[in-house]
């Protein structure tokens, strides 16, 4: 049904990035074999590739996985099926989220296995210190945010490229905007996954997750109210 259709739409993208996520750290380790690169920079290389791959996947899945029924003129077909429009919005989101999570898990396990091969303490770098669970969690929150934002904007703009463009504009433009605000008015604007004001990190993380889900809810409300 619709799960299958969403999977079919995103599977090529998913498989390509699943492979990249699985091999990036082993390949990097083989390239750096015989040097101290793995021991010294393995952990930071892992976190950087983890962040980068997941960000790209989040943006891509948000743009590909969102419902394209308005742009494709298939809305009359899909929305006369006996399911609510909310169902279609959330199924599309859930399939993309599951794929994002699968790639994150594979990338993490591949990185952990690779670094374990060279070190008894795989997430400790002689130069950069230990990687903490919070680093991984922060990367995941940012990617969830990027995914939900792109998903919602793709639905709102009714076009994957436009949604992706708008999302990238916000994700990469906002930090610059925040810097300008801080420089001019000395106000710190929060941006995921940074802590919000003086709130504890856990509370800030929950708020960022809720904001991300609100994007999808907004997309749902728009789709539900759209006249076809």
């Amino acid at each position: 049904m619709y799960f299958w259709k969403c999977w079919r739409d995103t599977r090529s993208f998913f498989v390509v990035f699943l492979i990249i996520a699985a091999i990036v750290m082993p390949v990097a380790a083989v390239v750096g074999l015989g040097t101290h690169l793995v021991e010294d920079f393995g952990t930071s290389a892992f976190t950087d590739t983890f962040d980068l791959i997941l960000t790209v996947v989040a943006l891509g899945l948000g743009a590909i996985g969102a419902i394209h029924e308005f742009a494709d003129k298939t809305a009359q077909f899909l929305f006369t099926k006996p399911r609510s429009r909310a169902y279609f919005v959330w199924v599309g989101w859930a399939v993309g989220f599951a794929e994002l999570l699968a790639i994150a898990i594979v990338n993490f396990l591949a990185g952990w296995a690779t670094l374990s091969h060279y070190s008894k303490n795989p997430f400790h770098s002689t130069l950069n210190g230990s990687m903490r669970a919070q680093n991984i969690l922060n990367a995941l929150i940012f990617c969830l945010w990027a995914y939900c934002l792109t998903y919602a904007l793709t639905v709102l703009r009714r076009n994957g490229l436009k949604g992706l463009g708008a999302s990238m504009g916000i994700l990469f433009g906002f930090p610059l905007f925040a810097v300008a605000i801080r420089w001019r008015w000395h106000i710190d604007l929060p941006f995921p996954p940074d802590p919000i004001g003086s709130l504890p990190l856990a509370m800030s993380s929950i708020i960022w997750i809720l904001v991300a889900m609100f994007f999808v809810l907004a997309a749902q409300l728009v789709v539900e109210r759209t006249e076809i």
Partner: protein, 293 residues
């Protein structure tokens, strides 16, 4: 039990101040084949969209099997199959994959119907939708609708792009299979011959207004073309006289309701009635629409 498959009450839809549908009252009996006639832009598709909950009525109400289209959309869609005016589907899916996609939504789905109609309509099931001809794309829509086991088929211009043989097959399927299952068929069209061939009921819509709705036989028996010869005969239209054409001493009246008494009145004015003939649906439709203009 509600005996109407579709009933609307002063159904209105406006787009930015323009009235696409201006208060129509449809009554479609259960099990009937109903032809919804109108020119392009008459309001047929907008009406269909309101019945399916794709667009919200500005005013009025509509019920399908007694269920409110605004409040009970899911229950209506479970029992309704639809063929859109725009025959667009997922371009990369094959007809077989579209069947696979659609099957799970409907508990009454019939795979034997898929096989039957795929063979009958000669649909290449393994070809991607985007690679199919326009006619075959229309056939895929019809296949999906006919296989749902729906109680109501809403077909918006279902014969678009079909060749005459396929149109013939489709009309046969609708008239035979649909009726055998007790399915109500509501189809909008401007192909009057198709409607005339299978419909029992017809409604004529123009500029968002329902000009007429009745059994097709009643419609046909109600309208007459009276040809009269004489001098200075009345040449004004009225509620009874839809149109008058004058050629020399010959007057051609299109009359609704009680043509015999109108002809008798002409005779009393010295006219000689040369012919009283029934009108085809096409002629009636044209007369109604022209009168409205």
């Amino acid at each position: 039990m509600n005996e109407l498959a579709i009933a609307s009450n002063d159904l209105v839809k406006t787009y930015g101040g323009i009235r696409a549908v201006g208060g129509i009252n449809l009554t479609v009996p259960r099990g009937a084949i109903y032809g919804f006639l109108g020119r392009n832009g008459a309001g047929k598709t907008t009406t269909v969209k309101m019945l399916l909950g794709l667009t919200r009525p500005t005013a009025g109400a509509a019920h399908v099997f007694g269920m409110d289209v605004s409040a009970e959309r899911m229950s209506i869609l479970r029992r309704t199959a639809f063929v859109s005016e725009k025959k667009t589907l997922y371009p990369l899916l094959t007809a077989s994959e579209l069947v696979r996609f659609s099957r799970g939504f409907y508990p009454m789905w019939s795979d034997s119907a898929v096989e039957k109609y795929a063979r009958l309509l000669e649909i290449p099931m393994k070809q991607r939708f985007e690679k199919l001809s326009n006619g075959n794309q229309t056939k895929v829509w019809l296949l999906l609708a006919l296989s749902q086991g729906a109680d109501l088929l809403i077909l918006d211009e279902p014969t678009t792009a079909l060749d005459p043989v396929s149109v013939d097959q489709l009309l046969h399927v609708l008239a035979e299979d649909g009726q055998d299952r007790g399915c109500t068929i509501f189809f909008s069209s401007h192909q009057l011959e198709e409607v005339e061939r299978i419909a029992e009921y017809a409604g004529v819509i123009d500029r968002g207004k329902l000009l007429m709705e009745s059994r097709l036989d009643d419609i046909k028996s109600e309208f007459r073309l009276i040809t009269a010869a004489g001098n200075s005969l009345p040449a004004q239209t009225s509620t009874q006289v839809l149109s008058v054409a004058v050629e020399g001493n010959f007057y051609r009246y299109v009359v609704t309701q009680d043509a015999e008494s109108f002809a008798a009145g002409l005779s009393q004015n010295g006219a000689s009635i040369t012919n009283i003939a029934p009108l085809s649906l096409r002629e009636i439709f044209l007369q109604l629409v022209r009168k409205e203009q």
